[in-house]
């Protein structure tokens, strides 16, 4: 884990601007598929979310020109990508590396809150439930992407590493032993 919140990498502006030029709507399909797969493989995640599974979570990477809207309810789980802040019960905002680092157990949510790198607005209970559920799930986004890609998964490894190098955002889970 990073000793200092100041070490959180910020997405390079040209890269963020380039991503901002992509059409956002088509990104929702693969992201929804990824989330459904994560939910199916980690039933404890939804159990920990409890009643807050019905909430809409706006995940706002502050160094990206878009916001993700997560609706984790297993019955109709989906993700959509928006250029303007969408209506949601909860908004969780911070640098992309911090948000992904929370998923991977690289950062502590309270520490990011203390340092003001993470902003929570809306239903605080739902935000806590999501954070705790994800922390317990010990997810590895790179591994999930590889599983999603099936036989082509192994071929994704160099691409994932290249994106991580270019963006400064670690897409793999950090080993806690050290």
């Amino acid at each position: 884990m990073s000793d200092s919140a100041a070490m959180i990498p910020i997405l390079p502006r040209p890269l963020a601007a380039g991503l901002g030029m992509l059409p956002l709507a088509p990104l929702g399909y693969p992201l929804s598929t990824l989330m459904r797969r994560v939910i199916a493989r980690n039933p404890g995640l939804i159990e920990r979310l409890g009643p807050y599974r019905a909430c809409r979570f706006a995940i706002d990477p502050t160094d990206l020109p878009c916001t993700l809207l997560l609706h984790p309810d297993p019955v109709r789980a989906h993700v959509s990508v928006h250029s303007r802040p969408p209506e949601a019960e909860v908004r969780i905002a911070g640098p992309l590396a911090a948000l992904i680092g929370l998923v991977h157990g690289a950062y502590d949510g309270d520490a990011l809150f203390f340092s003001r790198d993470l902003v929570i607005e809306g239903d605080t209970s739902a935000a806590l439930a999501l954070r705790n559920a994800i922390d317990d799930a010990e997810l590895d986004l790179a591994a999930e992407l590889a599983l999603l890609a099936g036989p082509l998964g192994r071929m994704l490894d160099p691409l994932i590493d290249m994106v991580a190098r270019a963006s400064g955002v670690s897409l793999r889970r950090v080993e806690q032993n050290g």
Binding site: D108, S125, L128, D135
Partner: protein, 329 residues
């Protein structure tokens, strides 16, 4: 080499428990996902199945698991707390951490083989109180309130025949624990019965022009200027204006860090060191436990405690040695 003090570490989830064990915890404390424990937050804590699996995992790696059932039962609902004690014993818990007199009596009578620790929530802060709990309910270890100096802890240890455990890192409760009703006045809910101080469904944040306002029960209790560290939304760390003076009425937002006092605490006869933070992530648990494991090993070997690297994890990004070396303002 002196006997190593036991490191008692927090876990709010099975993943955090595994992180604590891997990082070198001698013991891990945790609780059920209900109002029987004092960290009853959404998405946190253990089901019965998770607890049994986690205890088995800890035991395979040589660590103990202590189950906190440390709120005060509601009249007429004692069965919930009784069942928690029975389930903790059935899951293989090494001890239960209790606060309520009635629950202590019930546990001593119905689960005599289950080791009993007294929670900080019971606020036993003098030899008379400790000896009463030890003699009446067979309590073996006492978690001391965070209001005592090292000299006072040493004096207590000289007059009791039981183990003491003290907090060394994490959120700093500055009140007489188990007696504090500040949160109740604003939210109608109490850490002592409901298991939540500043329940999150009463907390909201609003950022305006970079300044972060924290509200509890609709009252603004703290406003952090742009770029300034933010505290937990608790009344005791709130910042208020009265008669033209703005300040922290009870205590500045800061976390406890007693790492520099570990040798003194060992000399004072302390048996176990507790890290606060069941509501924190597995990243926090792993890093803090690794740091303190190195520290207690150093103390036991008579070496200097390695310098701390935990500042970024502290509330308000500030640390204090709390009451252990307190100079009251």
């Amino acid at each position: 080499m002196a006997e190593m003090m036991e490191l008692v570490c927090p876990a709010g989830t099975p993943a955090a428990l595994r992180a604590a064990v891997e990082a070198g915890a001698h013991a891990v404390y945790c609780g059920f996902a209900d109002e029987t424990n004092a960290r009853n937050f959404p998405g946190l804590n253990f089901s019965r199945v998770e607890l049994a699996e986690s205890i088995a995992h800890a035991h395979r790696h040589g660590a103990k698991v202590l189950v906190a059932i440390n709120t005060f039962p509601r009249a007429g609902a004692e069965e919930t707390w009784h069942r928690a004690v029975a389930d903790a014993e059935a899951a293989g818990a090494d001890a239960v951490i209790l606060a309520d007199l009635g629950l202590l009596a019930h546990t001593a009578e119905h689960h005599p083989g289950l080791r009993r620790h007294l929670s900080v929530q019971a606020a036993a802060a003098n030899p008379d109180a400790i000896n009463f709990y030890a003699e009446t309910f067979g309590v073996r270890r006492f978690v001391l309130p965070r209001v005592l100096t090292v000299a006072e802890i040493a004096a207590i240890n000289r007059e009791i025949d039981a183990e003491t455990e003290v907090f060394v890192f994490g959120g700093l409760c500055v009140m007489a624990e188990g007696r504090c009703s500040l949160s109740s006045y604003v939210t109608g809910r109490s850490p002592n019965v409901d298991g939540v101080c500043s329940p999150p469904d009463h907390v909201s944040y609003e950022e305006t022009d970079g300044a972060l306002a924290a509200r509890l029960g609709g009252f603004t209790i703290h406003r952090s200027p742009k770029g300034a560290p933010a505290p937990y939304p608790t009344l005791c760390k709130g910042c208020f204006t009265s008669e033209g003076v703005t300040g922290h009425v009870f205590e500045d937002p800061a976390s406890l860090d007693a790492s520099e006092l570990l040798s003194a605490l060992a000399d004072a006869g302390v048996r176990a060191l507790k890290i606060e933070g069941r509501q924190r992530s597995r990243a926090y648990v792993g890093q803090v436990v690794r740091s303190f494991r190195a520290a207690v090993e150093a103390v036991a070997a008579g070496r200097p405690v390695p310098p701390g690297t935990l500042a970024a994890l502290t509330e308000g990004q500030a640390a204090t040695s709390g009451a252990y070396a307190k100079t009251w303002r």
